[in-house]
Symmetry: C2
Subunit: 420 residues, 2 copies
């Protein structure tokens, strides 16, 4: 920060009072290109090859049943960045047609327990100091079903996690400019979808690293992922990342909005519900081999996958090829960034015997990814209630970060071995 | 590396001898999705909003004149990742229609001074141990013209630099598997374009960190950027990153191919040519404000841009708002990765007076981005030969990493102030 904080604060305060008058920048590239300034379409914006057909598919598993989720083809993933067009999304049946049309009509209101309620235009936000980082987003409902036909797919089971570079205005800046009042404890974030998707975020996290993101992987957020504005709450479960964001209300307590007090709550064995679960635990998934990527013959095979944690950087990933009896450390390839997907690789020579492959990660706090049985114990779920019913989890409803074993059969096919 | 090197080597040797038989993985997702497995197109692969119109444009500056270059809209850039569809490209007039059709027909031959000449299929390479990193690619002909109408655009002048996550097989692995013979000093890389674009790379660099990349930003390389295979030579000038790669011949000396000994060579004041220039020097560019992004009023303005160096990580970026009399350190926002674009940000309060904005970076080796005059001295070009002719450089032909000053006028418009 090189100019004085007070300069910026004064500017923003004046802008709020005057309702406009941002001392910012006008983009000349906001105009459609003329035919002179561009030639072939392939030059203007290059699409992928006609031979490429990796796609998202509709999730087979719906909870509640009206949800629509579109899951990322993890079996095709390379590196740590998910292509924006393949980033998973959920619309909770609200978003048809998608909100977020003309961004010039979009407004973000900051109000509630603040001294200066403020409305921002999309272009206003792009003129403010920038925050940027590579972060995963994972749905709390990821990693289901546990068993059954639809469990035979890394895309179907685990495809509700993706990773992008997100860029936007720090929420802490917007809240400081608005002036937090005494008693400001939670930030209620609301989308502009027809269902007014809403969630409550503790003010401590809101002031820490949350972004009001207008960009994903170097360009505007894609429509399914919240265009023109999406909240990004790094390391926390994806339902906090409110899409088509239009309102932040600062309040004194959580609002227990529909998706917090209803389907998003965990029911515990004693019948009580646990409403708030924030951070994503350490988790890793082998993406090759997997049910979609069978082995075609004996010999060398690189085992590779993704690891991530809401607790910071991934410290290490271990791989077992003998059903968990022994573990060896994998290589982390490419950038290892906090609260981002991290790519791991492990050299393996397949001798043609049956084998069970699994990975487990440890984050920089030392937290270790649990097995399903360990997760059950941690969550207070008795072992006999872990067994799923038609593939749906038993008493383990959400937030499943258990180790995923894949069984390699004699013929090179790969099956889900979580319950086998 | 967890399995023995010899296992992998044996596998690869056998594969080379047998001509095939890779103990690898078959992707079930290579099939086109059925209508049952996908619903709307927006779910299968999400495109950007209809309101988004940031595009590459044809470079106004051609050298040689038959070149076709398509330049990245840096004025719209955010974060450090360039969207694959907006990554700059040059086809040297070879690639129309683009090579790189059906990737299953594509072959990569490794031969020359090796014990075991080897041919790889695209799918073979994807089964090998992976190398991955976020790297910039910058054309050596970037940052022209220096003056004139086409110099009034950050996209036209500097848009031949972009940054992606690149993933592929390490070239060192392929060369080790082939077995380098005595006298192996250079790797000659050839594309499958109609002009057989070819360049020579020292074997030391080939064995260090070069990738035979099949993926860019988490999916296959885009056609204009070399689908299905592109060489990535981290930190070196972009003409080494051979697209549509089909052949690596290990040789004992550089081959002085057309583009090395011809137009890619620098002519020096004494009439001699300097053929090989490898590493990209430390460089930074302010992308907002810039000629395309004028100031619309007094007050707060974030100055932001990109910095990069072939010498490793960016250590710091300094910004001057008074024509270079004083400099203050900018904030580096987001990941700071070696040989990658690095985003810098600087708070500024515009008082409405004329101002000259410029940035200069220092890389982790301590090398500092030069002014044009300093660059000229370093390159042995007399001051009177720096002045461009119709915007084309004087004796400074390529490899221009000089500080770029932008002048802010009273009315908020921004002009190129390199010669003013």
């Amino acid at each position: 920060m090189n100019s004085t904080q007070s300069d910026r604060r004064r500017f923003l305060k004046d802008a709020a009072l005057a309702g406009i008058a941002v001392g910012g920048i006008t983009s000349a590239s906001g105009q459609a290109p003329t035919s002179e300034s561009r030639h072939a379409d392939i030059s203007a914006y290059g699409e992928r090859s006609q031979f490429e057909n990796s796609v998202r598919v509709t999730a087979a598993f719906h909870d509640p049943p009206k949800d629509h989720s579109s899951v990322t083809p993890l079996q095709d993933s390379v590196g740590i960045i998910t292509p924006s067009g393949l980033h998973f999304w959920e619309d909770h049946d609200f978003g048809n047609p998608l909100p977020g049309g003309d961004p010039r009509q979009h407004r973000l209101l900051i109000h509630g327990l603040v001294d200066r309620p403020t409305t921002y235009l999309w272009e206003d936000l792009k003129r403010l100091p920038v925050g940027s980082g590579v972060y995963f987003i994972e749905s709390k409902s990821n990693s289901k079903p546990l068993k059954g036909r639809d469990a035979e797919s890394v895309q179907q089971v685990h495809g509700k996690t993706s990773c992008s570079e997100w860029t936007g205005a720090p929420l802490s800046l917007l809240l400081r400019e608005a002036g937090l009042q005494k008693g400001a404890k939670w930030a209620l974030a609301e989308g502009s979808d027809s269902g007014k998707y809403t969630t409550s975020i503790p003010i401590e996290k809101a002031m820490e690293d949350v972004l009001v993101a207008y960009a994903q992987n170097g360009e505007s957020v894609r429509p399914q992922n919240g265009y023109p504005l999406r909240l990004i709450v790094p390391g926390w479960q994806g339902h906090n990342d409110v899409k088509w964001l239009r309102r932040i209300k600062v309040v004194d307590e959580p609002y227990m909005a529909k998706w917090e007090s209803g389907s998003s709550a965990d029911q515990w064995p004693d019948g009580k519900a646990r409403w708030f679960r924030f951070e994503t635990g350490p988790k890793s998934i082998i993406t090759r081999p997997c049910p979609e990527n069978r082995l075609s013959g004996h010999g060398y095979c690189e085992i590779t996958g993704l690891a991530w944690s809401g607790g910071g950087k991934i410290l290490k990933v271990e791989v077992s090829t003998d059903g968990g009896r022994s573990w060896k450390q994998a290589r982390l390839e490419g950038p290892v960034l906090p609260m981002a997907h991290t790519r791991f690789c492990f050299d393996w020579n397949w001798d043609g015997e049956e084998a069970v492959l699994q990975s487990r990660c440890t984050d920089e706090r030392g937290e270790i990814q649990p097995s399903l049985a360990e997760l059950g114990r941690h969550m207070g779920v008795p072992p006999d209630q872990l067994e799923p019913y038609f593939g749906f989890p038993g008493k383990l409803k959400d937030h499943i970060n258990a180790i995923q074993p894949w069984k390699v059969n004699w013929d090179g096919s790969v099956r889900n071995a979580l319950f086998s």
